[in-house]
């Protein structure tokens, strides 16, 4: 826990922002005011934040269908994101992308992705760009356990390895892809052992603990920056909600979710650690919570008030010029 106070505050605030963002959506989706397919990241916050706190805006990430956490952690504007999810004209993507396509080139966020396994090839390209530019940037791809069975993901790992790219493959193993358990569908002993088969140095780590994530990533990302080629991590994690809203989740063990919420809530774990170690006080935490809550409220407020897209804009933004 060699982190400065501001770093701890920042980490907590980021995790909490993601959580509250998702909790809001969870409530709001029921009302029908959030259109489309929305996948919530709640439960996995320590991974996104633990990874991205090691990155700068000059670094790249690619994300998944479950992308809100990665976006917020990488620095996408929360208000712009909320507007986007409400499908508003001044959303981060002008209401054209929605939950599965939030992106912001300005902060190196190359997009959530509706295609499982869509991100890693793009991150490989960004890593190649970084290598060519020679300024020490890295590219991180996030992917779920399910994504590790996609052919283009394998191809990307091989390409990153042979070209020695500054590419970090992060696998968030939350045990399920939709209704399917990872043990059924992944033939290898683990994702990590499979990735090792590509000659890529791979670590398995606890994704419930921000500090472990942060430490593991610090070292790996530093190595990637230095030109040592790609590396990978498999994080154990959990999602607090169903794959989609209304998912009865009866593919999970009886008390699995209750147990995860009680014992594997990365935000509780973080809070307990920092308060027990006397690094942040309950008061500090409360203050941060309030900041987060008012940001989320503000974002919802603005999102609801924001203008709807103009139907005519359906044909803009297809090309730079045509």
């Amino acid at each position: 826990m060699q982190l400065a106070r501001e770093e701890l505050e920042q980490a907590y605030k980021q995790m909490k922002t993601i959580r509250e963002f998702e909790e809001h959506l969870h409530r709001e989706i029921m009302t029908g005011s959030i259109p489309g397919f929305t996948h919530l990241y709640a439960g996995q916050e320590a991974v996104a934040v633990g990874v991205c706190e090691n990155l700068t805006e000059a670094d790249f990430i690619t994300s998944t269908h479950r992308g809100h956490g990665h976006c917020i952690a990488k620095g996408c504007d929360v208000i712009g994101m909320m507007k986007e999810l409400y499908g508003k004209a001044d959303g981060l993507c002008k209401g054209k992308g929605g939950s599965m396509h939030v992106a912001d080139m300005d902060v190196g966020m190359l997009g959530a992705n509706g295609i499982v396994g869509g991100g890693p090839p793009l991150a490989t390209g960004a890593a190649l760009a970084a290598k060519l530019d020679g300024k020490g940037s890295v590219a991180v791809s996030f992917g779920g356990d399910g994504s590790c069975n996609q052919g283009p993901v394998f191809e990307s790992m091989n390409i990153a390895a042979i070209l020695k790219l500054p590419s970090v493959f992060v696998y968030e193993n939350n045990r399920y892809s939709e209704h399917t358990h990872c043990d059924y569908v992944i033939a290898s002993e683990s994702i990590a052992s499979r990735v090792e088969g590509f000659g890529i140095h791979t670590v398995k780590a606890n994704g419930f603990d921000f500090f472990e994530v942060h430490e593991v990533m610090k070292e790996l990302i530093a190595k990637a920056r230095e030109g040592n080629g790609p590396c990978a991590v498999e994080f154990e994690t959990t999602r607090f909600y169903g794959h989609f809203e209304g998912d009865p989740q009866n593919y999970r063990a009886k008390d699995e979710l209750k147990d995860d919420r009680e014992n594997n809530d990365c935000i509780t774990i973080f809070k307990d650690k920092v308060t027990e170690a006397g690094l942040l006080s309950d008061e500090d935490i409360n203050k941060l919570d309030e900041e987060v809550n008012s940001l989320i409220e503000e974002s919802v407020d603005q999102a609801k008030k924001s203008p709807l897209p103009n139907p005519e804009d359906v044909t803009t933004d297809v090309y730079v010029s045509y």
Binding site: K96, G146, H179, H181, Y251, L308, V314
Partner: protein, 337 residues
């Protein structure tokens, strides 16, 4: 006849065909849903749209196979199994994902018979969903039937009613050629009378949805009801239309379309894809080549614009052809001189 949803009609066909022929099996992501889970009995989902629900209870996990997220693997495994004598019904959750398995469809399944000099058959069905209308944005809302209609060796079915859903799927499963089967996401919950027991709708035989004198409307899937809607409004103004649903875009019932255009002299083709190299342009070009002398007006295509499908409702609604746009187009060609 029983009133059923489009979804139920599809499930019905699967049950009947799997009972009839033990070579038929289903495979895809979560088609059972939870196979191999250490925690639960498998079989909770039956496909994210519920079409394969309950099958594994009757036919077991050997014939209802949950697959990894490996679209190329799914399509390729299906093609190989079909080549080896089985009749797989594979599911690709959204047709948008065909970008990941086009090689297996276009270069393998579609071409085996030809490349191998007529000595192979590949009786696979690839079921998939398509279409806009759920705010699912650019990667989950496409209508990619033109892509596969263009490919010689494939057949392409697109039911627009529960009865056709059952009848076309049954035919697809018994067909000896590879069939891409498009189910419109927004149609799963529509209801209609569906024949009980065996029900086969032949490929290449259009459904004449309604008959009229002034204009021919050609549409598939969700667009058929949009055309009906437009036609009703037009009828109030004394304009009547033939509405033709080809049911299968390949093979195509050219005669039904051309006969109608010869009668009406006018053609409006409606489809929810972008305009270029589309099924709409295919039909328009067909008529422009074959029944030119009968044409009284320009052939109109009502399609989506040349853009991806957007997320927000207001934009998506603008993307999809509306009954109003269809009506205006018909009015325009009817008034053309």
């Amino acid at each position: 006849m029983t009133e059923k949803t489009y979804r139920e009609a599809l499930t019905d066909a699967l049950f009947l065909e799997m009972r009839r022929d033990e070579n038929v099996f289903v495979m895809g992501e979560d088609v059972v849903g939870g196979t191999g889970s250490p925690h639960a009995e498998p079989g909770f989902v039956g496909g994210v749209f519920g079409v394969t629900g309950g099958l594994h209870e009757e036919f077991g996990l050997d014939r209802c196979i949950d697959m990894p997220i490996s679209e190329a693997g799914i399509a390729g495994t299906a093609a190989g199994a079909a080549l080896a004598g089985k009749r797989p019904v594979a599911e690709i959750m959204f047709c948008d994902f065909m970008g990941l398995c086009l090689d297996q469809l276009m270069n393998q399944a579609a071409k085996f018979r030809y490349m191998f000099g007529g000595k192979a058959t590949c009786p696979m069905v690839l079921r998939t969903t398509y279409g806009a209308g759920m705010n699912a944005a650019s990667q989950h809302s496409q209508s990619l039937h033109p892509l596969v209609t263009a490919i010689p060796g494939l057949k392409v079915a697109m039911p627009s009613t529960p009865a056709d859903a059952k009848g076309l799927l049954s035919t697809a499963i018994r067909d000896d050629d590879p069939v891409i089967f498009f189910e419109h996401k927004t149609l799963y919950t529509i209801t209609g009378d569906v024949p009980d027991g065996e029900h086969l709708v032949p490929f290449g035989k259009a459904r004449i949805v309604s008959e009229g004198d002034d204009c021919t409307l050609v549409a598939t899937g969700r667009m058929v009801s949009f055309c009906e809607n437009a036609a009703q409004a037009l009828a109030d103004d004394g304009v009547t239309c033939d509405i033709i649903d080809p049911r299968t875009t390949s093979p195509l019932d050219e005669d039904a379309i051309l006969d109608s255009v010869e009668k009406t002299g006018r053609l409006v083709v409606v489809d929810e894809t972008p305009p270029r190299c589309s099924f709409a342009s295919d039909i328009a070009a067909l008529a422009a080549g074959e029944v030119f002398s009968s044409l009284k007006a320009p052939i109109k295509q009502i399609t989506g614009p040349h853009s991806p499908v957007p997320f927000a409702k207001e934009l998506e609604n603008e993307f999809v052809p509306s009954p109003t746009k269809i009506r205006d187009a018909v009015a325009e060609v009817v008034n053309f001189k």
